[in-house]
Every structure is written in structure tokens, then in C-alpha cells.
Symmetry: C2
Subunit: 657 residues, 2 copies
Amino acid sequence: MGNADLMYPSSNNTNIGCAHRVAIPPPKPFFKSLKSSLMETFFPDDPVRQFKNQPASRRFVLGLQYFLPILEWGPRYTFGYFKSDLIAGITIASLAIPQGISYAKLANLPPILGLYSSFVPPLVYAMMGSSRDLAVGTVAVGSLLMASMLGNEINASQNPKLYLHMAFTATFFAGVLQASLGLFRLGFIVDFLSHATIVGFMGGAATVVCLQQFKGILGLEHFTHGTDLVSVFRSIFSQTHQWSWESAVLGGCFIFFLLLTKHLSKRRPKLFWASAMAPLLSVILGSLLVYVTHAEKHGVQVIGYLKKGVNPPSFANLTFDSPHLTTAFKTGIIVGVIALAEGIAVGRSFATFKNYHIDGNKEMIAFGMMNIAGSLTSCYLTAGPFSRSAVNFNAGCKTAVSNIVMAIAVMLTLLFLTPLFHYTPLVVLSSIIVVAMLGVIDYPAAIHLWKVDKFDFIICIGAYFGVVLGSVEIGLGIAVSLSFIRVLLFVARPRTYILGNIPNSMIYRSLDHYSVACFVPGILILRIDAPIYFSNAGYLRERISRWINEEEDRIKASGENSLQYVILDLGAVGSIDTSGINLLEEVKRITERRGLKLVLANPGSEVMMKLEKSKCAEIIGQDWIYITVSEAVGACSYMLHNVGKPNPKSGFEESVV
Amino acid sequence: MGNADLMYPSSNNTNIGCAHRVAIPPPKPFFKSLKSSLMETFFPDDPVRQFKNQPASRRFVLGLQYFLPILEWGPRYTFGYFKSDLIAGITIASLAIPQGISYAKLANLPPILGLYSSFVPPLVYAMMGSSRDLAVGTVAVGSLLMASMLGNEINASQNPKLYLHMAFTATFFAGVLQASLGLFRLGFIVDFLSHATIVGFMGGAATVVCLQQFKGILGLEHFTHGTDLVSVFRSIFSQTHQWSWESAVLGGCFIFFLLLTKHLSKRRPKLFWASAMAPLLSVILGSLLVYVTHAEKHGVQVIGYLKKGVNPPSFANLTFDSPHLTTAFKTGIIVGVIALAEGIAVGRSFATFKNYHIDGNKEMIAFGMMNIAGSLTSCYLTAGPFSRSAVNFNAGCKTAVSNIVMAIAVMLTLLFLTPLFHYTPLVVLSSIIVVAMLGVIDYPAAIHLWKVDKFDFIICIGAYFGVVLGSVEIGLGIAVSLSFIRVLLFVARPRTYILGNIPNSMIYRSLDHYSVACFVPGILILRIDAPIYFSNAGYLRERISRWINEEEDRIKASGENSLQYVILDLGAVGSIDTSGINLLEEVKRITERRGLKLVLANPGSEVMMKLEKSKCAEIIGQDWIYITVSEAVGACSYMLHNVGKPNPKSGFEESVV
């Protein structure tokens, strides 16, 4: 008995005699459990919580406030806030104007659309959004994606009108999708885009966007429609004679200037305005330079005429009966999801900084409404670009009022200042895009992924090279499928461990993890680290047989006592289906055939309920199901040392009592 | 003091001061861990185990035996075995002949193909298969699926030659797919077809097959090409004037006779030959009846001329350059997977009866080779039909030699007896199919699913009605997507529980499950029951916040001490990715903001390694990570009473202080 005493040092203290039975969970009526699982699936944050025990009028106000958060924080708005928001709003407007024009060029759309898109959508978001730091506007990756997906079907330069209408229609679909995801509380679909996917995909898209800027910087007239590295380089180096050195020098200078201000702002956060104002300053400087030197006649391309006036309506331009409807729909769905994923990630990261909460579903409704409104007023896809939001945050914005200020500044520009952009050289816009995009390539994040999780790194790199060497869609496809394969592999190949006793304790842990843990003689303790489902039942059968084989080989080699008991620790088996129950019955038969006894430890409530309902608990024997591994081991080793066999709990109890 | 003692019985024995530290698992080199996870994914059963420490010659023999199991059991074959196999082989041949002809009609193929398919494939399987009970032949569901998928593209009656060639090509693709799944050890793909899916799908397909038999039983000349309930009933009732009462009466009699023998065999297993011989007897009786009464001239359709001779080669008929290649390929893939899933399930269930092991990957290679060989010798898709295998089992077969006996019997039939089937009425074949299919509709299994697992039941019913009301493909699509949604939902919405202390123990279990478990004052213990991944990190953040809210509400209502500690039990978190690590950091911030302390308990090896590598362990504090929930609770309540803010109201506290 000495050996057993060493192994179970506290068996004297904890009275094993009154072993705890595994409870059979109280039965739940079918509809009640259905209701609770639907609640968990669609309302995990319990949004109706605050509506409880309130009079009807208050409920109405709360409901309005839910959809229009401005009604909630508006009454508490102060003049002090306004001063901060005013400064932040003007700062982001100075960034929004050149960026808007640049991104619209990226999307192969008329430059003025970039300004339109910084007017209406920010107003909608200011009323409906729950982030205080998000600055609304067009996004580089969304613009690129739109150009690439619509461009596969329609040539923007040959058929600009149709292309424009398709862009509005795609934006409309994106908005409808976003709003419905939010309304139907399906926000978790966006969760399937993992952090690694987003890092890789965004980095790849930023690289592609940078590559496209060689067109502007080298002043090339013709350029490939492909976005992949190979076609871009082939396009660049096949027309070396067309390179415009004036353009390249100008571009180089502006990139250097922008990078310098950016570096400065990073080193001294107080100088945030330097990087925020630099793009506008570059535009002004560049335009002046072109105007003075008439460089537009020497190979430096300029924006040209921009129409004065605010957004014209575009209801009539949405086309739902064209043969290209499916393209518009597909484009809308994909850019909508990507824009949401980026926007919500940006909003969340600033919210965590400032310690407030962002409701994902509410944000989706806000994004959706702002894109629907945008598509009716000549805007294209808008979201919350990281660069602009970071400037907003650094400029000290307090609420979404900064978006309103920006919208008013853009409106004034549209009404009075558009002629000033006539001479703005395209190379400046390209430089602005390049510098913004270099910030999006988040290589430290990729290094972090490599260190922490190799599979995440592979997903990230897969997405990156898929975008850079293939296309944006291919990269996204690779990343999403790898993410799914990861989840499915986890479910198809759950880990199983042998547990050992940690000396001087009743704790049983994996031998791989704790080098101090040691085998329990005559007993094999296996832990299954995942739910048992149809997808892994076959694997587990093989694997458990193999563990038993290996353990028997080890015992034979070491000359210990032969194996008598197999304890399955089901503590981490959160869920089980009918195939899983069949597996347990099969394992019971396999162990019996080998003359071993199967013991279950620590089944959770769902597992226990299904064991009971399927009569599998009877097959295994109620007496062979223990609440903890240590009680199971206690019972088994008592039997090994004292009794010959049967009646585990009763015999065991007698002796202890 | 008594109360505290009850709560933490071993706090005197286990010195909290030297509590067990959570080990940081030993670092594993990247390539070593990659190799081991690839091994687990593709070789869970470690097939090279027996090759270790063997001379080269022995290894060669073992390798041959791996691919041709007959070399392994052949030398041990005895005359006693042969007697049993002979009886079983003749019995299944008597079933194989009418069934083969019936299923070939079902697949819209010439009836003779059913006989061809019972000759070559069983011989191949006898050499390569590892099941001793499987009887090889064509299968009803596979035949139906082939007719439906190929029939969408080619009309079998208008273009029978092309249709036949497509059937061979599809069979070839099915074989290649099956063999490669086995060779590349991708057998787990078949595991994704769950038991519930197969029950529902097979039941639906059997119902559809029965519905199709109304054509033969009512003697209708024209019949719908649709397989769904609506089109079949519309087709039947739109031509009531065409019903042939002679045919219907004959059909009714045979169905009654077949059901009677089946019932008899079920009641008395010794009379197994009754149900096995009944189909052949029906064929003989029916043929005699038609021959004598010349019923073929009164609306009773007969098989007609069958060519004498064994399988002609069909190498030349495989067509890889036709415009229908993709159809043949798609059909091959789908019927191949379905046939595999059915065949392996059947093989496994008999193997469990007789206590021997079936190697899934080896079976796949055998199935694949038998279909490749079949497609070159005028056979179409073969697998292991349940009905035939059950007869084989009941007839007392010992090894796969019974398949060889059956093949020889079929060969003799092909060489000498085909003219006898000239007068066999189609209505007899329909009756045989109906009775075989009624056995496939496994409604007790569906009832069992309803009792044990509602979601499995929904999957089963979805597959059933998808097949019956839509089409075979729709049903399969519904079932597979529901199965995937189930897995994804599990990963997207993991369950979380509040744990409570089980009185008189150091055990902490879910309050939902154990009604005796009780709250620990001032401490909230949450258990997360799934790996933490990108797909559920967002949800868990919401859910944990909500648990804290609810717990604070409860405490406020009950007037207990305020909440001070949140313990996360990570025992069931088998795996974590970078999004999961971010979540833990976020939870740390959330709890800090609320003035609570976050404590982790029982992280597994992967979780601990990633916590360490990502520096998250430092953020949370190494001292706040405990090996068990009870040690964490012990430490927290020690702090609550001795260091933290005391609250004299609680009796619990007084007793400790």
C-alpha cells in the first residue's frame, strides 16, 4: 500500500470514501434550450438588457438611442468637446481632400467622387455610429478591390458611365449587406476573418496599391490592368523609354517629404499635425509648381477640371436590370465585408485605447446606412480608414462631431475651391498613396505571428503572396480557406495526451507539458482535448488504440505491472454528438477485448446528458464514471492493490469507511 | 472556521505558499513539431509500426501484405473456412443476380451490366479488401445518383451509347478518387459525412428509389425524369388510365412474399436463406408465369434479350475528351465518396460484431482499384451494399473467399444461363428493389437521433427531405452544409459556464450541471469550453463582460460581498491563436477597468507556451496563473480575507480571520 500512499498523498485528508457522483444535469425542455441557444448565437451581448423593467415611453427613447447614438451623447455635448472636435475635424479634412482624390483615382473613378464621399457618409455616421474616433472616408483597399472586380467585366476608360453606375450599384449592395448583417445580428460572419488574414491581406493589398503608383510616379500613359507583381514589373520595364524623369524626381521628393513628416510625428506625438497637414501641403506645393513651370506640358500629368458643387443625387444611376448585375452584387458583397472588417477593427482598437465599448452589430448598421445613403448621392464605398482615424485620434477628437466638421469643410471645398485642384500633379497623389500604404504593411505584426503561432503566420503569408502574385480575390480566397481548414483540422484531429500525476498532489496533467508528472502504474489516463464529433470519431478510435499499444510496449520494455485500466478524461470535451457516443461504446468494446477496464472521468453536462439518454452510461457502467481524474485513479488503484475486481464504488467505499 | 474548512479542505495540507506552478512546456524545434503534427494528421494509426526493426526482406513481404491482405490470411486458410464460404458465396450469388439486374435498370443502364459488375470487382476486392464480411456489388443509392447526375446532361434512352460510356468514365473517376484518397491518407474527408447525414441521406434516397418503382409496378411506359415526390406523384396520377392491373397485382404479391420471408428471417436468424433465396425464387416464379401465360403481350414488361458471355473489355469506351467530361468527373467524385462512406460504414459495423479491425485507408485503396478494374471491364460503380453483406454475414462467411465464390457463380450464369432471364417481368425486379429499400429507411435510428441530439436529428431530416422533395444532390448539399455549420457554430459560439464549489470538496463544477455546487463569495469562476480562435474571440469578449454584469447584478440583489476576482478556467481550451491571445489581453483590460483582478487557471501546454511567447503571461502576471481552479480560489480568498478589503458582514470571512 506504500506505493499507493505516495501517489495519493492527500487521500487521508480528502475523504474519498464519499466519492462524488457525476450529476445528471436537470432536463431542459426542448424549446427552452432552443431559445437559450438561439439567444447565445444571435444576442450574446444581450442588447435588450437595459430595456427590462422600463415604461413604454422610456423604451421608445432607448430604442431610438440604440439606432441613433447621437441622441444619447448629444445632450451631454459641451463647448469644450466642440473645441477639440473642431481642431480634429479641420485636420482630418486637410487629409481627406487629397486622400479622397487619390483613392478615387485608384478605383478608376472620377476624382471628384473622392470629395463627394467625404461629405454625405460622415454625416450619416456621426448620427448612427458608436465610435468616437473613427474618421469616415474612402479606403485604399476597398477602392483597389472595386477597381479590380468591376474592371474584370467593364473597361473604365472605354465605358466610364457604365463603370460609374456599376460602382454606385456595388456600393448600394455593400450597404444593404452591411446593414442586414447588423440587423439580423450576423456580425459573427465578419469574425471569420481572422487577425492574421487581415494583416496578410491588407499588407498584400497595400503592396499592390504601391506597385500601381509606379504608373503615376514614372508618368506612364499605358499600364497593365493586372495587379500582380509580374505583370506590373513587366509593364514597367517594357517601356523604360517612356519614363518621365521630371515626374520621378518630383515623386521622389514628395515621398521623402511625407515620410519625413510622418517619422517626425511618430517620434513626437505633439507634432501630429505635421503628418496630417503634409499631404495637403504637398498638393498645394505641387500645384503651384506645375502652375508656375507649366510642367503639365512636359509630361507631368495633372487632375484637370473638377466640377463645382455638392453631391448630385444618383438614385437614377443604380442599375438592377443590367447584364452585369451579378458582378455588381458580388463586388458589393466582398468589398462590403472587407470594409466592415477593416472599419470595425480600427474602431475597436481606438475604443480599447480610450476604454469604451463598440457594439459590432450597431456599427454594421451605421456602415450599411452610410453606404446606402452614399450610393444615392454619388459616393462610392466608404469605411473607416486607419490613417485618417489615427490622425483624428491624435488630433484629440472627442466625439463623432469631428466627422461633421470634416464634412462641412469638404462641402465648402466642393462649393468654392475645386478649381484650385486643376493643376495638382498626379505624381503628388501617387506619393500620398505610397506613403499611406507603406504604413499599412504591418511587418512587425507578421514577425509577432511567426513567433507566437506558425499556422497564423502561414495564413498571413498565404494571403499576402496570394494578393501580390495572384490577385486580390485569390489572396482573400487563400486566406479564408486556410482559416477554415485550420478550424476544421482542429475538429478533425483533436489532441490527446497521456496524463501523469504531479508528485505530492492529486493533480493530473499532461506528461508532455509537465516534466515532473509521472505515470500511474497499471493505469493509462488519456485526455481528449476537443469535442467529439462525427469529424473526429474515426480518428479518436485509431488514436486511442494506438495509445494503448504504445503504453503496453512501454510497460513491456520497463517491466512494470501490466495495464489494467484506461481512464478517459472528458473534462475538455465540451460537446458530443451521436457519432461521439458511438465512439465511446466502441472504445468500451475495444478495451474489453484487450482485457482492460474503461473508466470515464469528469464528463460535462452535455456529455453526461447524452450518455444517459443514449443508454451509453449503462453500457459503460454508472459506477465507472467519476467526477475527477483523481477519484477515478483512486478507485482504480485501490482495486489494483486490494480487491480482485468488481463493484468499484461500493467495494471501495466499504474499505475506506 | 468550520465553513472555510469545508470550502477548502486541504488548505492546511497544500501549502498555498508553495503552490504548484504552471510549467512552461519545453520548447519544441519547429521542424520536429511540424513533423509530429503532420504524422498525427495523415498517419494517426501509425501504419509503419510493424515495419520497425525488421530486415529488408521481411519489410517487402509486409509491404505486399499491406496492399494485398489475401497474402496475409491466405496461408492460414483452411478447408473448414472454405465450406462456410462456399455456402455463403452461393447464397449471395442468388441475391446478387436479381439485385444486379434491378440496380442496373435503376441506373438506366443495360441490365447485363449488373451481372458484369458482380464478376470482376468482387475478385479484386477479395485480394485487396480487409473486410471479411463485405459482399461486393452495385448499390441502389449509387445507381440512382448516377442516373440522376448523368441524366441531367444526357438522355439515356435517346443516346444510350454515350450514356454508357459516360457511366464507365464516371466509374473510372470514382475509382481514381477512392484509390488516391486512400494512398494520400485523406480518408478523413469521408469522416465529414456524419452518421446523421448518412442515415437521412440514405433514407431519402431509398424513398426516392421506391417512388421510382411505381413505374415498374404500375406498368407505366412514360415516367417523369424528376426524382422528387411532387413530380413522381404528378406523373403517376396524370396517367391513371395507363395503370396495368395485371402488373400491379403481380407486384403486390411479390412484395408481400418478399416481406414475409424477410420478416421470417428476422424472427429466426437460422432461416436467413429464406430472405436470401426469395428474390431469385421470385424471378424464377415470375419468369415461369410470364412464359406460361404470355403475359408479356398483355402489358407486363419483361427484361428481354441478354447477351451471353463474360465482361467484354471497355478500355476504349472511356472518353476523356468529350464535352461532357466535367459531368463525368463531378458524378465520379460524388458517387465515389458516397459509395465509400456507405461501404466503409457497412464494413466497420460487421467488423465490430466480429471483433476485428478495418483500416479505412486500405479499404479505400481496395474500393478504388476495384472500380478502376471495373470501369475497364464493362462494370459500373460497385461498393459494399448493406443487404448483400448482411446476408453474407448471416450465411456464415469466414473470409473474402465468399466473394470469389459469388463471382464464379455469376460467371457461370453469364456463360450459360442468361437466356433464362428473357421472360423475367420488370415488376419482379421493382418488387425486389422496393423491399430492399424499405430496409434502408432506418427510422429507429432517426428516433434515436431525436432523443439524443436534436441538431443531429435536424441534419438527418434536412438530408431526408432535401432528397425526397428536391433532388439527391440538394439533399446531400443540405446535409453537408448543416454538418459544417454545426462544427463552425461550435467554434464560433463556445459555451461558457460559471463554476461553483461542490460542498466538502475542492472540486469546482458548472452550476448548471451540479445543483449542489455553490457560488464562491467575491470570486467569479468562468470556464471556457472550447479553443479560443479568431472565430470566437469577439463573442467571448461580449460574453465574459455579460457574465461579469450578471454576476454583479446578482450580488447586488443578494447583498453579498462585492466581486473582486475573476478566474478564467482554461482547462478545456485546447488551442489558442493570436486573436485568442489578444482576447485575453483585452479581458485583462476590461477587468482592470472595473476594478477586478483577472486570474487564469489550468492553462494547457499550447496555451501556456503562447502566453509566454507573446509576453501576455507578463501582462497578466506570472503570479496570477494557477495550475488548478482550487489553488486559484485558495489564493484569491486568502487575499480577500487577509490582505484585501475586509467586509465584516460576512460570516464566512469572520470565521477565517
